[in-house]
Amino acid sequence: MNGGPPIRKSPVILYGVLLLLSAAIIAGVAARLLSREQARLDSSVRETEELRLQNRAEQLELAVSAVQDGLMRSLESIPASALRDTLREMERTNPLVRNVFVWRGANDLLLPNDSEPLTKEEQGFLIRYSTLFDGTHGWDEVVQEDEYAAPVSRRLFSRSRGWNPPMHSGWIPWYWENRLGMIGWMERDGLRYGVELEMAMLLCELQQAMPLDIVDGRMILLLDGSGRRIMQSGSIAETSGTSAVLSVPVGPALPHWELALHTTDGALGPAAQRYALLSGLLVFILFIVLFSAGGLLLRETVRNRLEAQQKTTFVSNVSHELKTPLTTIRMYAELLGEGRVSDIEKRGRYLKTIASESERLSRLVNNVLDFSRLEQNRKQYRISHFDLCEVVSETVASQRIRIGEAGMELSVVLPNVTAMVKSDRDAVQQVLLNLIDNAVKYAAAGGRLTIELAEASGGFRIAVADAGPGIAKEHRRKIYERFYRIDDSITASSQGSGLGLSLSRRLITDLGGALEYHEAECGGACFVMTVPGVENR
């Protein structure tokens, strides 16, 4: 690899970085947009809810004003001559009237008049409103009771249709002992008369104005000025200290009262959350798709380039491999053909060389053919029972001369028994040949080659060990890759196509065996192939 032309890494890395960067930017921008959209959605949900709550508050206020208007109308229709009696009658029969009064000025009450004995209720009434009746508080001013300021003391009724209340009239919200009360009054002929509203009855009527269509997990509370629960609509399991999600004031008719919305999780609506989750997921998926597609593209590109380069090397290697024996064959054939070699011994040697070189050629061609078959998944195995000892001896015998010529001392160890296996005989032989070939090619300098057949678990193993330089650790995993050669240059000291080990490994794994690299005792390479036995197939 180090000898080959370097892959131009910089543009690839640039593209990768660009892709990553743009993916990150897209994700970032999308997240930002999403969060903004989420915020917008949240605020719109909030607004809608607030509007709805406001609407409900208005309904409550409307209910209050309807009650107030009704009472004001009956006050207006009282004839001046029967003021006292009619007021008394109102108090007795109208459930919305708690007390009645006629007031002429500071400390001048005509009704109820404390010069005559009063009912307990009337006594309480006079105590509650003493500062109003003794003139301490102006009727048109802001009326206060402790810190609870009533913002509106007098209201003119412009909302009612077709009925205009007299100018000198109004409603006074009045806080006494943290409880809201209300006085409706009207002025006629210098007399102010009116009623105290029965708050219990008002609340009873407001109950009907409280919303009933409450979804699960929500609760609407009507709270008075001191935070007391007056009404509740809907119900949630409460933990102490939960504060309202939303609250709106009910309006001037019920000063300081408010409607508060509570939810189980303290958030508004699951819809918004679901939106965030869904779009977040989408963005994430988009990011993943972009990223993995980019990564895949990058990887494929790098691989393609690598493969193209390997194929080029392969072709030149194979051509070189083919050319060498052919040259030798041609040279010897020409010498013999010219008839100039008279020495019989020499002639025999030439012919042997021609035969061995052709053998090498056909081995090479076989390998290439098998390789292409395997690549196209068209390789067919011819499975048969055979004795592995026989194959080993046969192969060794055919290669003995070559090994001897390479200056290697050969030792073969065979078991005493027959080693019957069920496999493709030719393929096994091819693998063994490849291993021997490799040893001759790369480890001839070691001067020793050991081939050992032994029984292994589930079959037999053939170890081909040499005393050569061995294979460095960093290459050990790659040697089985096709076209891979440790020295990849054309000018390498040994010839080879880079196919042998890759092919051998595939063949032997296809047949249910394995091919592994071990380090030999003296530092050389030892390839061990296992072939499953008969009973295992």
Binding site: T93, L96, A200, M201, G234
Partner: protein, 448 residues
């Protein structure tokens, strides 16, 4: 109660100073004095008793149709046997109603559900199914429950019906307005609409002040039920009351002639003017007697002088004929210089009612003292009044009063010894004073 009514009737006939009202009116209005004969030559106070006697409800005639809402507490504490019994009781109540009647059922925990909207009670099968579907759980929105019940009743508020809410609760109101005063005001307002709330407290945890006040202000009844087993029986008897209402929107207006000044109304709230007194009662049951006791100041009179003391006018809605009606009566006194003459003519029945009401006032006061943890004062109040009662009972040989005096004495002793007024004691005292003030049929029969 019946025995008492007979006694009164007999006394009324025998009495010189009392005039019976017109015969054509259904409700009889009688005015009596505790002392028909008073001592001449000195200023003194006397008690005027205005009694309303309702006729027996006609058994065979049509009774007025009932517009009944049952407001049932279904908060968590009602779980188990209580809710079972309550359901059973509601069904028993339903079965007593006829097709003319209106029935509705509202339940509440922290919110209110109208289980059965107001409708004819003829639809028993469906309603029964709905009642059986009620289960317990949640907290107690009592105000909202009664409000919803009232709105169901209001759907048929046309004067033809006897309107009644039966409130059943075992707890304290904890959602919405929940003070006795506030629910009392609701009761008052509902009475003005002609709706009565009868409250039934189950167990020992409910707020009896709240329940009693709401019932009192709306002229309903209040019951204290320790065991939920009693519920069906109480529903039945309460419904018996409802079914026999003969007069509604009852008001008494008593006029006093020149020189006679009303001082107070004993045990009731009402309007006390310079020369007249107004008391309003909501309704009268068939055969029931209700009265108001008014303390007045008499002018100095000469020996032998006969004076008119009070003229009472009672206005009411005749629930059987469904039309407004009224009746009236008046009371006289005779001045006498003879002390014995005065004592001999004392009206024992009236005096007894006065005493009983004073006792009830004392009981209320004792509860207040006990609430302030002044147990000594509470016991003292009860001792003094039980002694008064015992003395009167002995003088006039009234054994049932003696028994009550003994019971009071025991209560006083308990409070003094235990240094507390336990829940049951407080509830039974509150309930019994309620019964005295309201002169309604007592759950405990004649013993009140």
């Amino acid at each position: 109660m019946k025995v008492l009514a007979k006694q009164f009737l007999a006394a009324a006939v025998a009495m010189a100073g009392a005039w019976s009202a017109q015969a054509e009116s259904n409700v009889v209005c009688r005015v009596e004095m505790d002392h028909p004969v008073v001592l001449s030559g000195s200023r003194q106070t006397a008690v005027v008793k205005v009694t309303l006697d309702a006729p027996k409800a006609p058994k065979l005639n049509k009774r007025p149709p009932v517009n009944l809402t049952i407001v049932m507490d279904r908060s968590g504490s009602m779980g188990g046997q209580k809710i079972d019994k309550a359901r059973e009781a509601a069904i028993a109540a339903l079965l007593r109603l006829g097709p003319e009647d209106i029935f509705s059922l509202v339940t509440y925990d922290d919110q209110v559900t109208t289980v059965v909207p107001a409708q004819s009670a003829a639809n028993t099968e469906w309603i029964e199914g709905r009642i059986r579907s009620v289960t317990a759980g949640g907290s107690t929105a009592l105000f909202a429950g009664v409000s919803q019940g009232a709105s169901e009743v209001r759907k048929h508020l046309d004067g033809r019906y006897v309107n009644r809410i039966l409130l059943l609760s075992d707890g304290l109101a904890n959602v919405g307005p929940s003070t006795p005063a506030e629910l009392g005001r609701l009761g008052t307002a509902l009475r003005k609409e002609g709706i009565s709330v009868t409250t039934i407290g189950v167990g020992t945890d409910y707020n009896e002040d709240l329940m009693a006040q709401m019932a009192q202000n709306s002229d309903g009844n209040t019951y204290f039920v320790e065991s939920s087993v009693d519920l069906p029986r109480i529903f039945a008897s309460e419904l018996g009351d409802v079914l026999s209402v003969v007069a509604g929107k009852v008001t008494i207006d008593v006029e006093f002639p020149e020189g006679i000044r009303p001082l107070r109304i004993i045990g009731r709230d009402g309007r006390v003017g310079n020369d007249h007194v107004e008391v309003s009662l909501n309704q009268l049951y068939g055969g029931q007697q209700k009265y108001a006791l008014i303390e007045v100041e008499l002018p100095i009179g000469a020996e032998g002088e006969v004076r008119q003391i009070a003229a009472a006018r009672c206005a009411y809605q005749d629930m059987i004929a469904n039309r407004p009606a009224n009746s009236s009566g008046q009371a006289m006194v005779r001045y006498s210089a003879d002390n014995e003459d005065v004592d001999r003519n004392m009206n024992v029945a009236v005096k007894k009612e006065v005493l009983l009401n004073e006792v009830a006032v004392a009981q209320e006061q004792a509860i207040d003292y006990a609430d302030q943890q002044d147990y000594k004062a509470a016991a003292q109040t009860l001792y003094v009044n039980s002694a008064n009662l015992a003395l009167f009972a002995e003088q006039n040989s009234l054994p049932e009063l003696e028994a009550q005096a003994a019971e009071m004495q025991q209560q006083a002793k308990d409070i003094e010894n235990q240094q507390e007024l336990n829940k049951e004691g407080r509830k039974s005292m509150r309930t019994s004073s309620f019964w005295i003030f309201n002169q309604q049929k007592s759950e405990r029969g004649s013993s009140y």
